[in-house]
Symmetry: C2
Subunit: 301 residues, 2 copies
């Protein structure tokens, strides 16, 4: 209990420091709050699908990375021309793997982005900032967490010519966002939409009605062929599409009332890492905490 109090205090303290220390970083990202959706639709006509490609004429290098322990997917996206890159939802235990891959691919890691404040693993954001100096941590403003840069719905995160539109998809947590790459027809849905499922709604300000409405209005309205990449999968599936989820998702194809009933009766166990993950993730990872507290948390995780 004493440890928890100490951690919460540390989180508040470090959080405040970070907020005041990094106002300049908020100008480092090119945001475009009212992104022209007609332009996006035009881009779709040249949509091609990319995975892991180096040197494609699509301009996108894309890698899906997996953590077997928490079943988390981390995504690396980069512009093949400028070599600028970003990571989505890295896991602390595998931050060194991610840093090595980035080095081997000769990329310049610009952003480390989280779809939300995770409860089931500690983000690798802080550690990556140490391993790859110069990269900027990103969280949504609505998450209530601290990061070098906070984004809002409608913002666009850019690495070279690769663009990710930020969409608000709350319900699993209040600050959950989905990142959409319209040019390549891909969306990174975090825990809002999982393959044949969705994130739980029973803690961290979760709300099944909010989740249902967000997924239906922000994700399932994307074109049918858009690929959806979630933050987790527990069956070894790697990707789905808007069409498939609209046809097959056993929860989200139900009515709102039925969905709420399902979500309120899942009876899931408490996430085993929540006590260490939440305070660490509120500041984008252990490595934004003072070393002694970080070591203590990592030991406990």
């Amino acid at each position: 209990m004493a440890t928890t109090v100490r951690l919460l205090w540390a989180v508040r303290r470090v959080g405040t420091c970070y907020q005041s220390a990094s106002p300049a970083a908020t100008r480092a990202i090119i945001t475009n709050r009212y992104y022209n959706l007609y332009h996006l639709r035009e881009l779709n006509t040249t949509t091609i699908m990319a995975s892991g490609f180096v040197g494609s004429n699509s301009g996108l290098l894309f890698r899906q990375l997996f953590d077997r322990d928490s079943c988390t997917y981390t995504y690396l996206l980069a512009d093949t021309a400028t070599k600028e890159a970003l990571l989505i939802d890295p896991v602390i235990e595998l931050a060194q793997r991610d840093a090595t891959l980035i080095k081997q691919l000769k990329l310049n890691l610009k952003y480390v982005v989280n779809t939300h404040v995770h409860a089931d693993h500690i983000t690798g954001s802080g550690m990556l900032k140490k391993l790859v100096p110069g990269c900027v941590s990103v969280l949504s403003e609505a998450s209530g967490g601290d990061a070098d840069l906070k984004v809002n719905p409608g913002d666009v995160i850019k690495v070279g010519a690769v663009e990710l539109e930020v969409r608000a998809t709350p319900g699993h947590t209040a600050g959950c966002v989905t990142f959409v790459d319209h040019a390549h027809g891909m969306a990174f849905t975090g825990d809002a939409l999982l393959i044949g499922g969705c994130g739980r709604t029973d803690f961290q300000e979760g709300n099944p009605e909010t989740l249902y409405k967000a997924v239906h209005s922000q994700i399932l309205t994307l074109p049918d062929q858009y690929l959806l990449y979630p933050a987790h999968d527990y069956q070894g599936l790697t990707v789905t599409s808007v069409k498939e989820e609209k046809e097959n998702n056993p929860r989200l194809t139900k009515s709102l009332t039925e969905f709420v009933e399902i979500m309120n009766n899942l009876g899931l166990p408490y996430p085993r890492k929540i006590d260490v993950s939440l305070p660490a993730n509120k500041v984008c990872g252990l490595y934004s905490l003072p070393d002694d507290l970080a070591a203590e948390l990592q030991k406990a995780s």
Copy 2:
């Protein structure tokens, strides 16, 4: 010991039955032993990279699937127009997952293909033949195993307009093959080449010199940007490329002499599932065995 003898007997018996029972199946695949490589080079100029896409103009639907237990990747490829599909290296415990996905995507599973006779897991081929009647199991002639259809280097396995060239890449086992999709710039390397590694060469007629030469002549001579999809990864990486392996593979960038030295001194433990996997995989899975023996093997695995 008595069980082993009984199994070997069963494998021989069932193997013989299968060989004699399915000669017609050998005509079911369109093979083209001396495939025109100039034509393949032409196709490369329109290369686009596909992953998991439904409805792309690339004509390819592609899914990478993972088994967390054996760290095996299974690949689903289908022609989006004809809906014909094939699976590469399915795992028995996840055959139902694969069959469900095939059904949800409304695909017609034509071939279940293995890159080699696996020692670390039981193939899902036999079970998929039960779950999705009509599909044909495929192995290389050089594997010495039994399958409905045996392929040789230079053969092309086709599902609709999607074509996989069979290349001999022995060394991990004598019958290992790599499947190359030139139109989409992808190769499925089995255990011949892993991401930053390669399959072990200390059993199943393994030979480090053979492996080195096969990988260098049959895989690393493909264009730099070709994506390489292995049968396994233990770090959560999902894909690599010819360029990356030529630059970074810690074993295969060495000289032949150094490589042989490395491979002869790995000191790896005996694969825990080899005693049940090999006899089952020689006949493309448990479900090609009589039910009582299949049950016995599955229990032991």
